[in-house]
Amino acid sequence: MKYWKGIEELESAPEFMQSAFAEFMPVKESHASSDATSAPRRDFLKLMGFGVAAATLASCETPVRKAIPYLNKPEEIDPSISNFYASTYFTGADYNAVLVKTREGRPIKLEGNPESPINRGGLSARAQAAVLSLYDGGRLQHFAIKSGNEHQKAEVAAVDQAIRTKLAATTGRIAIVSPTIISPTTKKAIAEFATRYPNTTHVMYDAQSVTGLLQANNGIVPGYNFSRANIIVSLGADFLGTWISPVEYSRAYAMTRKINRDKRSMSRHYQFETAMTLSGSNADIRVAVKPSEMGAVALALYNAVTGAGGASSYKNDKLAQAAADLKANRGASLVVSGSNDPAVQSLVTAINQALGNLGTTVDLTAPSYVRQGDDARMAALVNDMNNGSVGAVIFYNANPVYNHPLAAKVKSGIAKVPLTISLNDRLDETGILCQYAAPDNHWLESWNDFEPKRGFLSLAQPTITPLFETRQAQESLLRWAGNNTTYYKYLRSNWRALTPTDAAWDKVVHDGVATGSALPPAPAMLHAALAPDAAAAQLQRPASSTGIELALYEKVGIGAAGCEANNPFLQELPDPVSKATWGNYVAVPRKMAVENKWKQNDVIKVSANGYSIELPVLIQPGQANGTVSIALGYGRTLAGKAGDKVGANAAPLAMINANGTMYNNVVTLTKTDATSPIAQTQTHHTIMDRKPVVQENTLAQYIKNPKEVTEYEKIATPDGLEKPNKVSLWQDYSYNNHHWGMAVDLNSCIGCGSCVIGCQTENNTAVVGKQEVINRREMHWMRIDRYYSSDHHKDEFETVGKVGTYAAMEDPSDNPQVIFQPMMCQQCNHAPCETVCPVLATTHSTEGLNQMTYNRCIGTRYCANNCPYKVRRFNWFSYYSNEKFETVNGHMFTDLGRMVLNPDVTVRARGVMEKCSFCIQRIQLGKLEAKKQKRRPVDGEIVSACAQSCPTEAIVFGDMRDPNSRLSQLLRREDGERAFHALDAINVQPNVTYLTKIRNAESEFFAKENA
């Protein structure tokens, strides 16, 4: 058979035959020829020119994709599969054992390490956000030597050489300044450095120090076991928010607050404090006191508890009640104090001793090491630096020019020290003044060990190779001391005694935590350093009864040291109580504001110690009369793009006395003409007596009958009163496989905000910056609603009238009770958002989830309007490309920052609605894992990011179709008792269930029944 290429071939036309077997068309010799069979030379050139041009143009259009395949794929890295490594977060204040989630070799999220006996899987907001700091472009990216006013990039070897030479030639003292170091091996490295340079001293100071506590307890911070305390009295210690080890304490505290019908008891928490702190807002009974009265309160409590007849100027019914409760719970009560006055702390120790709490709630065998700073030594060093007796100073993650109260003297001192070295991760306020910068690795790039409490150890391991040309600080110190081992080897050999075999070591690296101690045992028995009488005599007296007292406090998010100031997640984390973001402010009681005719946002000038700052006023219910409060940790000038010039630095307002730093002072306030808006995520503060939103009741009522603590709304039907979900226009969905749900125990939720940041890192939620928060457009998928109680209630309708009562109900009480309500998408079964979307961009899944299809969304925002919970968030701008957001949301703008984004979650485009998805990517992952193993997902295997991070386990996530899941069991148990849906009567049938808050005191939140 023969196939012809064409009719010409079949006919064997001569024209065809002529060129049939030639490979190329014959090239035409002359332009004049009209021979069609030969391609003209010029045409050839034209074609070639066109071809080259077309090829060039086409190659110009091709985008360059920087996807580089592994030449040799690391064994443990599979694209799209997450690896978890155990590590530890500790930046001088807040200890958390963590699991680092890495994707394709880059850390993208931190989760609590459930193996840790200290934080038990919980994580603070600060630790949650820390992963973002790894990719902070504001870090110093190489070693540097200062020449003139500039730091010039320098070779590591050159810096080492210069420092070694200068250190050897140093005649004066060599000081290493750092915040608290809890790493035994780091301390060993410092000791080795000190052996090489014998006149070395290591000075630790804390931005929020507990020197007084250390002094009063023979140099240790006792371990506090809140879980065994029936009565907790805190004298100004914000142990749930910032004091010493908040995650550990929160977890233990929450254990005493969880109740059910079989355990109808809970702790009672008294809080005497100046500012309204997170602990104060969770307290059953809160008393506002001035900082200067704190000593008198401690003395009065001591007297009441012991029956000693000493004189105290402080009298209060609540104090007497607290004393009575304490006496009734000897050995099962706990008194703590946040005062830095050793006299107050001595009294507190004496009270605990008198109550027999030592050994039960106050654990002396496992003291905490997370605060070791010594104010007096630091103050002495600052003086020595100024009088020229210091030959060299090394700042190791310490920024005293910013965060020490004697900042000005530190600054002048640095100028007088011949050799100054900064190991800080950036050219911060201190680093910029130092001659040498040898930046430390980020902790996620480092090996290290930690002993937060005696007997509890944990490790940090690198999860990514150092992003920049930095070197771990310990290694720098060892190099300068002449030891050339790597820090890993050094660490490993230091652990030889605890983990003799490689297998044992590998297990510790894998688990991240271990028991055992590298330190000598603590004193077995301890008594207050000062006898109570002596302490009483030494109590700090109010400097002036007329002056306005300032209390300096630490924010849950930013912290006092300011080292996380350039972390926009934390800057935008609303303060749990005031709900303010991006900056500090002067919290004033309403009475003072009214008397001085200050309004919120009016800027006032606060002066003390010859230093003054200007900050806006925030009217803070619960603030003690005659006092104001200002947060530390703001007003950085060299933190980085996001953190600079946010608020003002209040550290120099602290009072320095012989005992150390007192975080209070007498200040003068003068009003300026300026106003500066405070960016609050919540501007209405009371619940307006809306019981359908959030419910609470008293323990007394709960003990009487758990079925009467929650009010259930009923709908009138012809057949009588019915539950709202019995009357419906819509057909119910049937869920045959899973039905995801969540329960939030309002009794355990302390409002710390860890879940908010957990959600933000997990779901790539944009940071929007101060102005957009003022515009009420923050993007957090999850928020914690905070309500204050009001003095006015609906029972005044009859006497005052509705209009007047409603207006009065808008004002919170002067010392209000507080309730926190985490609020995220309620995943309604009859979701009002789903019916109104014209394009079906939000739909219901077969597993009960309300899903957003970003691709389909055209952004009418009707869903957000129709959401009764107002949890939907609209992308008002391109947060990843609009230059307005480059400073605050910078991580979405650079290749470096984008490494932190969770590749399983889309970064939402402008004009698209977004909201909580119940972490659908985690659900999907869990389901797929189970499917691969041919089984059902196990309860607890699939956890939303918020539930995972919650230090108090207030959030329970699970499958409601699984009758044995923790969630199903909880809902069955609490049904008809504490379980309620927010806004039940509008019949949107949420999949999130709240559990009524039970207060171990009189409730002032809602109108009294039958009033």
């Binding site: 919540q682 501007t683 209405h684 503060h685 009371t686 619940i687 307006m688 809306r690 359908p692 939103v693 957009e772 515009n775 009420r776 457009r777 923050e778 928020r783 609603d785 309500y787 509705k802 209009v803 409603y806 207006a807 309500q821 609020m823 009002p832 019916t835 109104v836 979307c837 014209p838 394009v839 079906l840 389909r856 969304c857 055209i858 952004g859 009418t860 925002r861 009707y862 957000a864 309007n865 129709n866 009764p868 919970y869 107002k870 939907r872 968030r873 609209f874 992308n875 008002w876 701008f877 391109s878 609009n882 402008r910 004009g911 698209v912 609605m913 927010a982 806004l983 509008i986 949107v988």
Partner: protein
């Protein structure tokens, strides 16, 4: 001279003949643009520029350019949308409902009112598109066949109903208006001198010859379209009101909304017709066609609908009290006494109290007072929508999310920008299109043998003797008053 009834006031004054009508109305189209028109157009074009700038900012940077927030997701955008749609209603009511009820006085105003409808709907339609986060995907709202199988629109969503309601309304109004224009375009074509004008108007007039058959079909189509439009007067704003009524937001979730919105729409529409007519009749010297009687009649409709709206406002409060629903009660207490009390007070004053002045005959027949009143009603009706949308949203269920709304410069720019767009279109219409329906006005003139379409006795014996073209019976009363 025109025949004047002894008992009934004439609908067109000034003793107009049929020729006068043609002359008066075509004059505006044929004459050179006058300076007042030029000035007005420049102002309108300036605001049109503002509109384009605001649209650019909105589309380029995002909805964040507006003052909205996480709590108040609609404010000026939907306020303006509802306001403009409402304004359109008067045109349809005048052209369709009054045609069916044989209200002859509508003839002088229906053309301009219909044009107003169309331009108002164009302005209104800007907002549903612009308020979208991603307007370039606006076509998703159409139930288009697609390759994604079951991907479809949500027929439960009132916004989708809006898409159908507004597009139907716009189409029908446009067709109705254009068909009415055809005979008049033909008149202008026949008089046109310039080639461009001749060409344009002959294109626009679709080759209208004025044959009896054409007139008969014209009448039939007008009646059919009137019949189609009439339900639209009720349905469009009913559906717009359902955007709110079907929601769960306290203050929106109200069954009274459909009639209340329709009444409000007619109310605001008549106010806008009055505003425009009072200007047009002066600018184009059409006092004889748009008489004080017209003004008084429209004032009466305004007063009636205004009162209906007033009753609706009070009913909402009654139901809030009667229902004993806490959230509903608070929504209304907050509406009247909360931070936006001034908006509520403006709405009540403008919409309920001021229209009652129309009871006074002096007010009803006063041109300046009517003009002021019409402006006040327009303001009031804008505030009504603002009050409904913003004061309901800004404090709904969870006090934690309560927020205030304040407009950005772009919000304001878009609103005054659509006013610019509207007046640009209206001024162009008034200049290039006949603002009064000549053909229909001629039917309401009592005409004489002299100037009427005459009966030709020579052709009377013809088997297919044409009826008088403009429907006057041959036995029409004849007076012998001479023309001029």
């Amino acid at each position: 001279m025109q025949h004047v009834s002894a008992v009934r006031e004439p609908l067109v004054t000034g003793g107009k003949t049929l020729h006068d009508v043609t002359q008066d109305i075509c004059y505006q189209v044929e004459a050179k643009p006058n300076i007042r028109w030029m000035a007005a157009l420049s102002v309108a074009l300036f605001f049109l520029g503002v509109f384009f700038y605001s649209v650019y900012r909105t589309v380029w940077y995002g909805i964040g350019e507006w003052g909205l927030n996480k709590t108040v997701n609609w404010a000026w955008d939907i306020t303006n949308f509802v306001w403009w749609v409402g304004i359109g209603h008067a045109g349809t009511l005048i052209s369709a409902v009054l045609l069916l009820f044989r209200q002859k006085w509508r003839s002088s105003i229906n053309r301009a009112a219909e044009a107003m409808t169309i331009f108002a709907v164009i302005c209104a339609a800007m907002f549903p598109v612009l308020h979208m986060g991603r307007p370039w995907l606006a076509f998703y709202v159409f139930p288009l066949q697609n390759t994604l199988g079951s991907l479809w629109v949500n027929f439960n969503s009132p916004l989708l109903w809006d898409v159908f309601a507004i597009s139907t309304y716009f189409t029908v109004s446009l067709v109705f208006w254009y068909i009415g224009l055809i005979p008049d375009f033909a008149s202008i074509r026949d008089r046109a001198k310039g080639t461009i004008a001749k060409f344009s108007y002959s294109m626009l007039s679709f080759g209208w010859k004025g044959s009896a058959k054409a007139w008969s079909r014209y009448e039939t189509v007008s009646l059919i379209l009137a019949g189609v439009s009439t339900p639209l007067v009720l349905s469009v704003h009913t559906i717009v009101s359902m955007d709110f009524a079907t929601s769960v937001v306290p203050g929106w979730h109200t069954t009274i909304f459909p009639p209340y919105f329709v009444a409000g729409a007619i109310f605001s529409g008549f106010a806008m017709v009055l505003t425009l007519m009072l200007i047009t009749r002066v600018v184009f010297r059409l006092e004889d066609y748009i008489t004080l009687e017209h003004i008084a009649l429209m004032n009466k409709i305004m007063m009636v609908t205004g009162s209906i709206v007033g009753v609706a406002y009070i009913t909402e409060f009654f139901i809030a009290w009667y229902s004993q629903v806490e959230f509903e009660q608070y929504a209304f207490i907050n509406r009247a006494t909360g931070p936006y009390w001034w908006a509520y007070a403006s709405m009540m004053t403008c919409n309920v109290i001021t229209p009652q002045l129309v009871w006074f005959r002096r007010v009803r027949y006063s041109i300046p007072l009517t003009f002021i009143l019409s402006i006040i009603v327009n303001i009031g009706m804008w505030f009504e929508r603002f009050v409904i949308i913003v004061t309901s949203l800004h404090r709904d269920y969870l006090p934690s999310s309560w927020a205030m709304f304040s407009p950005s410069i772009i919000d304001i720019g878009l609103y005054v920008g659509t006013l610019g767009l509207f007046f640009t279109l209206f001024l162009l219409f008034a200049k290039f299109f006949p603002v009064i329906n000549m053909a229909e006005v001629k039917t309401i003139l009592k005409y004489t043998v002299d100037n009427g379409p005459t009966y030709n006795p020579q052709k009377a014996a013809h088997a297919h003797a044409p009826q008088p073209a403009i429907g006057a019976p041959a036995s029409a009363p004849i007076t012998y008053n001479k023309h001029d």
